[in-house]
Symmetry: C2
């Protein structure tokens, strides 16, 4: 009874994600999105309600993109070594298609840290919480560690991951790897 869309939603989300990933939320305008996605403003609003809705779809897309790495960590059984491997996987994933965009989740976390936006914060936090849970789980595989040590080390690793992601926007892959090595020397 009606016309068909001449664009693929998943495809235009992928393009939008790369733009948001590089520039952040406020520094990406609808005009830029129109151009990059290759569709009209109207179509964007028809498919994603508004800029905010589109951004959420992009965050989700990124999360499924890195889902594999998280699953790998989940299924691993070598404790700290697995966490270290997860750090390496994250870095090489973010360095893959394009340099210096960092981690989309960390970028978003930074940009929205002073802004009231419960929906986006939930999206970001759910990822962080899951990662923290997994890290604690892996740390518990080492029998010698008491509860307090584990919590402190998990906290340390999460902050390290944060610094790592921020740094990957400006530092070289080699520098990042040095950083990971030294980070895990302390664990």
């Amino acid at each position: 009874m009606a016309r068909k869309k001449k664009y693929d939603e998943a495809e235009v989300v992928e393009r939008a994600m790369n733009l948001f990933w590089r520039n952040g939320y406020v520094n990406t305008s609808m005009q830029m999105l129109e151009k990059e996605m290759g569709i009209n403003k109207f179509s964007i609003y028809a498919s994603f309600e508004n800029k905010h809705g589109l951004f959420l779809k992009c965050l989700e897309r990124y999360k499924t993109k890195v889902r594999g790495i998280l699953e790998k960590l989940k299924n691993a059984n070598n404790g700290v070594a697995d966490i270290k491997q997860f750090f390496y996987d994250s870095v090489s994933s973010d360095f893959k298609d394009d340099h210096s965009k960092g981690c989309f989740i960390t970028n978003t976390y930074n940009e929205f840290s002073q802004i009231e936006d419960q929906v986006i914060k939930e999206q970001v936090n759910s990822f962080m919480t899951e990662l923290k849970k997994l890290i604690i789980e892996k740390l518990k595989m080492h029998k010698g560690k008491d509860e307090e040590t584990i919590v402190r080390e998990a906290n340390y690793l999460l902050l390290a991951k944060h610094g790592l992601a921020a740094a990957s926007r400006v530092n070289t892959e080699k520098e990042i790897e040095d950083y990971i090595e030294l980070t895990f020397k302390n664990i």
Copy 2:
């Protein structure tokens, strides 16, 4: 021969700095600045040329604000222990007057990392470079370390400082201190 200003420039810069510090550059509008600084837009433009000029003045103000901590590090003579103390000083400085604003320089560094703005980048980088120089200098006080180790450790500490500053916007002071302790465990 003319009228006198009824505001003190240093005073209104201080107010503007706190606003930029909390919200970042793009999320601070001239309207907000007018209100917070307590003077008219015209006066802002007369004193600081434009928003960008005002922001630079605020960055400079922050740098003189943390100058003391940096000088303390410069004049110290206990190597790694001094760097650690610098980390503690930075945290307690940023936690002092108001919580969860983080480090203004790091915030700016993050916000402008994908934006072409040579002037601001120079301001930020000059601070980073000086810090790196000092860290290397302190690390060299320990005779056993070869050049390569020193460079890697300095790089590690700078990234750690970065993560630390970002984290101080959301984590508690206690968590931050745990992080510092673990960071320096093996240096």
